[in-house]
């Protein structure tokens, strides 16, 4: 009332405008309105790459290599996921607001505790797996342990952050109701919030598994082997036919995990909301026992994977490792601040690249998520007769394949491909990152839609509301907050990943980082990592503010 203007400019509008301005500024930074960006002469080369997709190299030798490499990548991914979800589950609880606010009821300690845990976790998160890999390489040498830890540490921190956000966005009233009837807060937490959030947590864990597969592929570069290594080898000599064979393997791996996750979630009763108006008999609830029958399988899988890659666990605390750790700390200190002035324009480039990337990813993901969500067109949300006809099915399959392809191919490779037809700069990097993240965000969005509360929509729909309005009034408001949360979180990931597209001359801090790495200039490297850390904090802060102000409105 005191600020009449704020009635018309709602926080969402405000942030939307800020977002658009940021995108426009980033485009300008990318030189879009200042110079030619498209290189038409490069299309024949792009075509060669695309054309190779229809005749991948299917020779026996290569297929054998592919199979073995896929197994290695899968095993790394399983181990990495296991560790990162374990880390994430524990740390996630400790950096959720609801834990400090409602469970510990720590009023004064809250700010200190909550923010310090978050700050600690921002550190491993800000640094890309590849850098972690190189760090561990310095202390453990060429051991499979390096790749596993390189996945587990940053992914554990990311998982922790997302888990905490899921917990914070889960309705708290049941928790509060129990706490206020005198139940010990910790008991109430495990009894209400965790079961409520369980499916989201599980679903995210599966998603993490897919991320680990992609990451295991990228880590192949530093000697972890597997598909990433093979892809890099073929890429270096531009053998596109071989490249596509490996891509298809990645596609199958990623798609397999996707399907497995969907099936499992179905069985756990997650998708049962879809059953409401279909004619399938409602299954008796068996979720608990189903979940428990998963455990032996999961444990066996993890055990098998660890056995397959054989990390040398004794290295973790060995004196030799400690000595090497000591050595690397010594060579990195004191930090060399001489190049600090250079960091500012590079940081601007990095931020611009990440903003463009996330803009591409979010808009593309949004567009593809709805057709890709199983419940959306297929089982009757916007298809009232409830009979699955062909058109939505085809659309669903196409949307899913596009999303899968986008996320299966690593960002640096997208960037390199884009570089054929765009002039160098941050734009090809941003597009490469954007395409890769589009696949990921699209899948996340689709899952949000599939987990959507159906009854309110049915209510709208039953009232004779046209489909478009059901969408506008029912679907969008219900999904947007989570879409936004995922987008903001992915924005941070995009920023981290600018490191790997920096490889192809996409600029930004990533490029400086690779230069410093290859010069073994650890004293300057540490300063650049510091800049990344600052940027991560910045993004974290902005995304927190955006979400808080949107939730309040």
């Amino acid at each position: 009332m005191s600020r009449p203007a704020s009635r018309f400019i709602s926080p969402s509008l405000q942030w939307g405008m800020i977002g658009l301005i940021a995108i426009a500024l980033s485009l300008w930074q990318a030189g879009l309105f200042r110079q030619t960006v498209v290189n038409f002469n490069g299309f024949p080369l792009l075509w060669r790459f695309v054309a190779a997709s229809v005749h991948p190299d299917l020779s026996y030798d290569l297929l054998a290599t592919t199979l073995q490499a896929s197994l290695v990548t899968l095993a790394y991914a399983v181990c990495g996921t296991f560790l990162s979800v374990t880390i994430g589950a524990i740390a996630g609880v400790f950096c959720s607001e609801v834990w400090w606010l409602e469970v510990l009821r720590a009023k004064r300690l809250r700010y200190f505790g909550f923010h310090s845990v978050r700050a600690i976790l921002a550190f491993p998160r800000a640094i890309h797996e590849l850098i972690w890999g190189l760090f561990f390489l310095n202390i453990w040498g060429l051991d499979p342990l390096v790749a596993v830890a390189a996945i587990a540490i940053p992914f554990g921190a990311i998982t922790a952050k997302v888990f905490s956000e899921i917990l914070d966005e889960t309705p708290r009233q049941p928790l509060l109701a129990l706490i206020n009837s005198g139940v010990a807060p910790i008991t109430a937490f495990f009894y209400t919030l965790l079961p409520q959030a369980f499916l989201n947590l599980l679903s995210y864990s599966f998603y993490r598994f897919e991320c680990s597969i992609r990451s295991a592929a990228v880590l192949g570069i530093i000697g972890a082997g597997g598909l990433g290594y093979e892809i890099l080898l073929s890429l270096q000599s531009l053998r596109y036919e071989q490249l596509w064979t490996f891509f298809y393997a990645l596609l199958i791996l990623n798609g397999g995990v996707d399907i497995a996750s969907a099936t499992l979630r179905n069985q756990l009763g997650c998708a049962s909301r879809i059953d409401l108006n279909s004619h399938r008999p409602t299954k008796r609830n068996i979720s608990n026992s189903r979940i428990f029958s998963l455990f032996p399988i999961a444990i066996a899988g993890v055990a098998l994977s660890f056995w397959y890659i054989q990390p040398d666990l004794s290295k973790i605390g060995s004196p030799r490792s400690q000595q090497l750790l000591h050595q690397i700390v010594q060579t990195s200190l004191p930090p060399n601040f001489t190049g600090i002035a250079e960091l500012i324009p590079l940081s601007v480039e990095t931020v611009a690249m990440s903003v463009l990337a996330i803009a591409i990813a979010a808009s593309g993901g949004l567009l593809l998520a709805f057709p890709a969500a199983q419940i959306f067109l297929l089982s009757g949300l916007l298809n009232r007769r409830g009979n699955a006809n062909l058109f939505p099915l085809v659309l669903l399959v196409i949307a899913r394949i596009v999303l899968l392809l986008c996320r299966a191919i690593p960002a640096p490779i997208w960037a390199l491909v884009v570089l054929y037809v765009l002039f160098p700069g941050i734009l090809p990097g941003a597009i490469g990152l954007g395409l890769h993240n589009l696949g990921i965000l699209g899948r996340l969005f689709a899952e949000v839609i599939e987990n959507l509360e159906q009854p309110p929509l049915k209510a709208l729909s039953a009232g004779g509301t046209p489909n478009s309005l059901v969408f506008l009034y029912g679907v969008l408001p219900a999904t947007m907050p989570r879409f936004l949360a995922y987008t903001l979180y992915r924005w941070e990931v995009c920023m981290r990943e600018t490191v790997i597209v920096g490889l192809v001359g996409a600029g930004g801090l990533g490029r400086l980082l690779t230069e410093q790495l290859s010069s073994f200039d650890y004293q300057s490297l540490i300063v650049t990592l510091g800049a990344f850390l600052v940027l991560t904090f910045l993004v974290d802060w902005i995304s927190g503010r955006v979400r808080r102000s949107l939730r309040a409105s």
Partner: protein, 324 residues
């Protein structure tokens, strides 16, 4: 009380499941424990590497070109060395310059086929490491500067004319490549061309083939790469000469070489580097098996080399900032 039987069943099932999971979990422990002391049968088995490190001579390489071929190449070479040295020899693949140098430093690799710059970087991090041998061509290595025909850049005759590249976009290969980065940047510097003189930021295509592709596409007006790769691709007919061509061939410099770690002396005896050097030089193009190895290296024979040959590379590395 209809629910009771139901409940009991679920409790029973649950007990069974919990027991199976516990069993599986327990079986995992000895599994991962014994994985540490099981003896390896494949060279890639690195878990057992700590135990066998003292016995196995581990070689490695940074693939600079035809990386998938290098895989085969090293298989052949380790067999040959194993026979010559009467010691188990294994090969570990690494695809990244930085990773290879680090692995050499940490002691996971005993002998590595480095480029000029990376060899120096590795030796500086491992005191006592020695440059051992190189191919005949490596003592007189060249880079070629190439340009897209549409860029209007004409061939030049001497170093000073590299100034024609000013105002054009330009790509190097990998950051730490000697032929794709270090020496070219040094020659450019001598001609008075700095990185700021190029249009936009100079690129790092990461490898020689990518440089060819990107200059062919016109993404970059010009680029620079290893002459050996260029020649090979020319022979293979993989270069579209209506689109790109060489504008200048650089002066010669030292490049690729084998670097061996001093730790082998403790493990295999003081004369071990000597033995390895001899074995490498003994590779004979007249023996079919050995000819194949040489061919895969693109060499006619190996010749001895020494640390001092790379003093110039080191100096240039320091000037350009690749060595601190």
């Amino acid at each position: 009380m209809w629910y009771l039987p139901n409940l009991e069943i679920s409790v029973l099932q649950l007990m069974k499941r919990l027991l199976t999971s516990a069993f599986l979990f327990l079986s995992l422990l000895p599994l991962s424990a014994c994985s540490n002391n099981s003896s390896p049968n494949s060279s890639a088995n690195s878990a057992a590497q700590t135990k066998t490190q003292t016995k196995t001579f581990v070689t490695g390489a940074i693939p600079d070109q035809d990386a998938e071929k290098l895989q085969r190449l090293y298989g052949k070479l380790s067999q040959y060395l194993e026979a010559e040295l009467k010691t188990p020899v294994s090969y570990k693949p690494v695809t990244d310059y930085t990773a290879a140098v680090t692995a050499f430093k940490v002691g996971d690799l005993d002998m590595v086929w480095f480029g000029g710059l990376t060899g120096v970087q590795a030796r500086l991090q491992v005191p006592g490491a020695e440059a051992l041998a190189q191919r005949d061509i490596d003592a007189k290595f060249h880079s070629v500067f190439i340009a897209n025909k549409n860029s209007g850049i004409q061939p030049i005759n001497n170093l000073k004319e590299l100034t024609v590249l000013k105002g054009h976009s330009f790509t190097f290969g990998s950051e730490s490549s000697t032929s794709g980065r270090l020496m070219p940047q040094y020659f450019l510097q001598q001609a008075g061309v700095t990185l700021e003189d190029f249009k936009g930021q100079s690129g790092f295509s990461q490898n020689h083939d990518a440089t060819i592709a990107l200059v062919t596409a016109g993404t970059y007006d010009a680029g620079v790469l290893n002459e050996q790769v260029w020649q090979k691709r020319l022979q293979e007919g993989k270069i579209d000469r209506s689109k790109i061509d060489v504008i200048w061939r650089s002066p010669e410099y030292y490049d690729y070489h084998w670097v061996i770690s001093p730790s082998v002396k403790q493990r295999f005896g003081d004369d071990f580097p000597q033995k390895v050097q001899t074995a490498l030089m003994k590779l004979d193009p007249k023996v079919a098996e050995q000819k194949e190895i040489l061919e895969l290296f693109g060499a006619t024979k190996f010749v001895p080399t020494k640390n001092e040959n790379y003093a110039r590379i080191e100096q240039v590395g320091r000037e350009i900032g690749k060595i601190k």
